[in-house]
Symmetry: C2
Subunit: 298 residues, 2 copies
Amino acid sequence: MFNKISIIGCGLIGSSILRSVEEKKLAVKISVHDKSNQVMEYLKKNFSVDTCSNVSEATKDADLIIISAPLSSYKEILLSIKSSLKEGSILTDTGSAKKEVNKIVINLGLKNISWIASHPIAGTEYSGPAAGSSSLFKNRWCILSADNQIAKNKLENLKKFWSKLGSKVKIMSFEDHDYVLSLTSHLPHAVAYSIVRTAINNEDKFKNDVIEYSAGGLRDFTRIASSDPLMWKDIFIDNSENILKVLDNYSKNLDQIKNAIKNKDSKKLLEIFSSTKKVRKEIIEAGQDTEEPGFGRK
Amino acid sequence: MFNKISIIGCGLIGSSILRSVEEKKLAVKISVHDKSNQVMEYLKKNFSVDTCSNVSEATKDADLIIISAPLSSYKEILLSIKSSLKEGSILTDTGSAKKEVNKIVINLGLKNISWIASHPIAGTEYSGPAAGSSSLFKNRWCILSADNQIAKNKLENLKKFWSKLGSKVKIMSFEDHDYVLSLTSHLPHAVAYSIVRTAINNEDKFKNDVIEYSAGGLRDFTRIASSDPLMWKDIFIDNSENILKVLDNYSKNLDQIKNAIKNKDSKKLLEIFSSTKKVRKEIIEAGQDTEEPGFGRK
């Protein structure tokens, strides 16, 4: 499909792309770079691809460049690779926030490079290349964002690429992406981090009880709250405007519950708790979760 | 083990007890009652037990009476069965809050009845008798609470009963139970209901997008937010004091994140997000969740 694909950053997502590209033979040549020596050693040991300690070396002659590194590292990466990018190539990424990154790319003034942002809505609570899997993107959405003047054939190429990895592809503006993801992903992470910090107070004599009896609900939240801290602090800073807005709405919703509890208002509580029941059903019908009780976990 | 067991309320939990008691032959006779005609029809059709439309009839001569109904129905049930309870019998329940219920039982002034509260930390997001399973309690904790003067042999009998259902049993005071569960279960439910209400605004043009891209985190919360509304409004009213207290602590933790986002304080965000990572590991080590990525869901 591509002569050369270059993957910059090979953690959970980058290494999953690498595995899938190899498995499905989507490139003649693959080059990879990661700024961590440990990751580079892992890649050398486990893959027969071109591992480049120099990032601009990795992207040289590539037809598709995929940045799969924390958002805060984009600027440095882009400045390093800018002059060695091949004309006509597609530049993409896998980041969870788009608006700020898009500004950085636009400011670079790249010539004859098609910048199309990608966001595969896939992942697990684990990080690092050993956690990757070639089936990570199967049946998962991948959202693409690009300027209107982007060449249609380049957009089609990238859509096909993600489809080959098993993804269903949607196009969304940079702005809409960041708003929708602030609701579906960033708010849940903020909430999960807060709740785990509230429940687990290391000084509290009940700490062990809280761990033991976490199956009453808390355990579900600890999965998300164990996501990669480095990645997440970048997302919160990049998409701060949307996140602060939805956090305010969230606090208002929580205050409704607080007030209903204070007033022992059964009717209001019942109304609130009933309103959310059908959302689960809609998510299952949309193929976005299992209907097995308790996620089908053993 | 018991001559006669009576189960009052046969939804997810009650019917799971019924299935397990039958399967393991823990009683010579079993009688059941549910105030819903639909549930009674289901029980008649699927079980060969004594289905009593009259609750005091169901509990007559029972050696173990298990109330597995919403907390707000306890008072009426207890007043109805009070005079027909057998001397020397054990009265228990399966409720998620204990302090208020204990007051109700004490006020009844039962004579020669051993009141020992039970709380099996087990369940799913589904409700009703068809959702029950005989293995629901396997390897799950069950917390017992009783006054200090309770007869040791009665406590032992009830411990054995839950052990036979597959549970691991712990004893905890009514007060400690309600505090610990406010952290592990009631707070997570309040938060889940709030977040789903925030993310899904039926008037919002992005509603369908939010459903489609819920795999970024939101879908996890919709499971808990689809729990039985009737049961949960009772829990929030019964355990209001603890829940309001932990909700205040939670809001403080959330404000820390909000302020760090406002100030684009990478260091603080990294510190917050790093602090919760190891809790997941502790919960997995305690056997309270799977280490499979994404709960191992398909």
